[in-house]
């Protein structure tokens, strides 16, 4: 599904910052993977490159067989829309749109008719237990509810891959567990490939494979099918 070969990325500021130093990585279809590292390790940059939100300097990246390199913004937008669902730490919902309007938005950019995308968005909200909250604005929802709206928005285009950047970063421990359970069941029941970036070992422990990244280089890759790699995360304790 995801194939990375020797990806390099440098930020050119006052001090050039070599963030990713030759990342090579394969993530297969249906995997539930976390990328774990301290802040500044380059994990978010990696996720942004995976999500075609940012470009990389050298290397090779193919997503579902499509080479992702030097795409025009329009083309990148289409790929993001069709192939990738995003979940952000800060939810990134549009404040002046209701829950259902936020969920509809990716379909709006696909040119789906209003009625059809509304029905579909309602369906997804229903699946995430937010049916009664469809007409609420993000600031009228709790953090967990907001993140579930964001997940519904990520799912509605039926992407091949879900990219989650610290999905529990702004949530309390109880809702964090709920959100991780949700991602888990999406992976288990619908075989959606999910990549989670986190610095919390408890969150990483919920995933099936943990990729450790440090100073822009991939460290060890842990198979974690029995979910006991961290003292946190056992019995659903994450924080």
């Amino acid at each position: 599904m995801i194939h990375l070969e020797n990806i390099n990325k440098t930020y050119y500021g006052a001090q050039p910052l070599h963030v990713l130093k030759g990342i090579s990585l394969d993530i297969n279809e249906g995997e539930f993977v976390s990328i774990m590292g301290a802040s500044g390790s380059g994990k978010s940059t990696l996720l942004n490159i995976l999500g075609i939100l940012d470009n990389y300097d050298s290397g090779l990246y193919t997503l579902a067989g499509v080479p992702i390199k030097d795409l025009s913004e329009s083309k990148a937008a289409v790929y993001r829309n069709k192939m990738i669902g995003f979940i952000f730490q800060s939810f990134n919902l549009i404040g002046f749109k209701t829950a259902v309007e936020n969920v509809e938005l990716p379909l709006y950019y696909q040119g789906v008719s209003k009625r059809k995308r509304h029905n579909l968005a309602m369906e997804y909200l229903d699946r995430l237990g937010l049916k009664d909250w469809w007409h609420h604005y993000p600031n009228e929802l709790s953090g967990g509810q907001r993140q579930r709206v964001a997940i519904a928005r990520a799912l509605i285009t039926q992407p091949q891959i879900i990219l989650a950047d610290e999905p529990t970063g702004a949530l309390d421990s109880k809702t964090s567990v709920e959100v991780m359970q949700l991602l888990k069941s999406l992976n288990a029941d619908e075989h959606i490939t999910i990549v989670v970036v986190t610095h919390e070992s408890g969150v990483a422990n919920e995933t099936n494979k943990i990729i450790h990244i440090k100073d822009g280089i991939i460290g060890n890759i842990e198979e974690n099918l029995d979910h006991n790699s961290s003292p946190f995360g056992i019995n659903g304790m994450m924080k």
Partner: protein, 418 residues
């Protein structure tokens, strides 16, 4: 399109202050432009109305007072135009002067019809007076050659005078009636339209007036039409030649400019036109600068809008918005908001000119010899209004386009972090 509209409605509703400020800048710009141009047009219309009753290619010659001693005669002599001046005018300037007439005014006379009477002047004129001045006959006829030849006691009065002389009935019923002019019986042969401006006098036959009220050889004033003098220089050159010739007939210095007065309506009009052009240009400059402030307002607010919404654009791009769809959204939003408020400004501006029209449009100012409106029909034609609105929309959009393009092109990750 429906989707875009509801998007715009949502953003406008959620950014009330910004929307209102933009709208105010636009509406104010258009409003000021229209009010200004309307007021200017009112002034210009008022001026043009005063000249409406004239043919442009005419001159009127009045007697004056000499300012130089000449040929043994002292300065300060009063020059009275004579019949021979009329002959000179009509015979010696072939090729330039066409119709020549003369006007001789009575002193104040009383015209009475039974118990109703009016006080006015009567101008004795030739049969061609209505070819030199605009006289609109409402009933009857103008002075003809037989009136002149036979010195008939004929009279033309204005519809207003007729109304005063016959307040109870239709003014046209006075036609053919005999009225008294001081002690003489005159027959009303025509009724002409009062031109609303300046003095409205009664007309009679030149020869009749000269005989009854005249002072010997006094010709009154000479009036004539001319052609072939296209610009100010040629007019001035002709005036010099003409003045020298008439001066010679009165033994005044050929270059004495005050012995006779020439009222050249052609150059008069030229000067008025250039004066109006200056007013018009000035108004447009001020108007365009007002519009410019509106444009700057729109551009400024567009800039802030785009900055404020960078994160939102980032989100939209992350979930699949193409740069063009972002750009399209900003542009359509700006166009719709400026159009909407531009329209409001336009309507308010038109209302303001209407109010001006009601307040000042019909007020007449007593100029001593008659009354004049100096402010007539202050309005701006609808095409100008729409053009101004379109200019504002286009300029506002272009002003907002640069930051919009930047925002549309920005990498989503920068927008999300920004």
């Amino acid at each position: 399109m429906n989707d875009i509209l509801s998007e715009i409605w949502a953003t406008a509703r959620n950014n009330k202050l910004r929307t209102i400020l933009t709208g105010f800048a636009v509406a104010w710009g258009i409003f000021m432009l229209i009010t200004l141009l309307g007021a200017g047009n009112g002034l210009i219309n008022g001026i043009s109305q005063q000249t409406e009753g004239r043919f442009n290619n005419t001159m009127v010659v009045y007697g004056g007072t000499t300012s130089k001693p000449y040929n043994g005669l002292k300065e300060g002599r009063y020059i009275r135009l004579k019949n021979s001046d009329i002959d000179i005018t009509s015979s010696e300037f072939d090729g330039i002067i066409d119709e020549v007439g003369a006007m001789l005014y009575t002193s104040t006379v009383t015209i009475s019809n039974g118990q109703h009477y009016i006080s006015t002047w009567i101008a004795g004129v030739g049969s061609n007076h209505n070819k030199i001045n605009k006289v609109e006959i409402l009933a009857g006829r103008f002075i003809n050659n037989i009136d002149i030849a036979q010195q008939r006691k004929v009279l033309l009065i204005s519809n207003k005078q007729a109304q005063e002389l016959n307040p109870d009935g239709d003014y046209k019923s006075l036609l053919g009636k005999w009225v008294k002019v001081n002690a003489f019986a005159f027959r009303i042969v025509g009724i002409f339209k009062d031109d609303e401006n300046g003095r409205a006098d009664a007309f009679s036959s030149y020869s009749t007036i000269q005989t009854i009220f005249g002072r010997g050889d006094d010709a009154g004033r000479i009036e004539f039409t001319f052609h072939g003098l296209p610009d100010e220089e040629s007019n001035e050159a002709f005036e010099d030649v003409y003045r020298a010739r008439i001066n010679a007939n009165h033994q005044a210095a050929p270059d004495d400019r005050s012995s006779i007065w020439l009222w050249n309506r052609f150059t008069d009009n030229l000067q008025m036109q250039s004066g109006m052009d200056i007013i018009r240009t000035f108004l447009w400059i001020v108007g365009l600068f007002t519009l410019l402030s509106g444009i700057v307002g729109v551009g400024n607010i567009m800039l802030i809008t785009v900055k404020e919404r960078t994160r939102e654009f980032g989100i939209r791009k992350a979930i699949g918005a193409r740069p063009w769809s972002i750009l399209k959204m900003i542009i359509i939003e700006s166009v719709i908001i400026t159009t909407f408020f531009g329209y409001i400004g336009m309507v308010l501006g038109v209302v303001a000119t209407e109010v001006m029209d009601k307040q000042f449009g019909h007020s007449e100012y007593d100029m001593g010899w008659g009354s004049e409106s100096i402010f007539v029909n202050p309005s701006v034609d609808i095409a100008t209004c729409i053009e101004a609105t379109i200019v504002l929309i286009l300029a506002g959009t272009i002003a907002g386009l640069i930051p919009s393009i930047k925002a549309a092109r920005i990498r989503p990750i920068n927008a999300l972090n920004g």
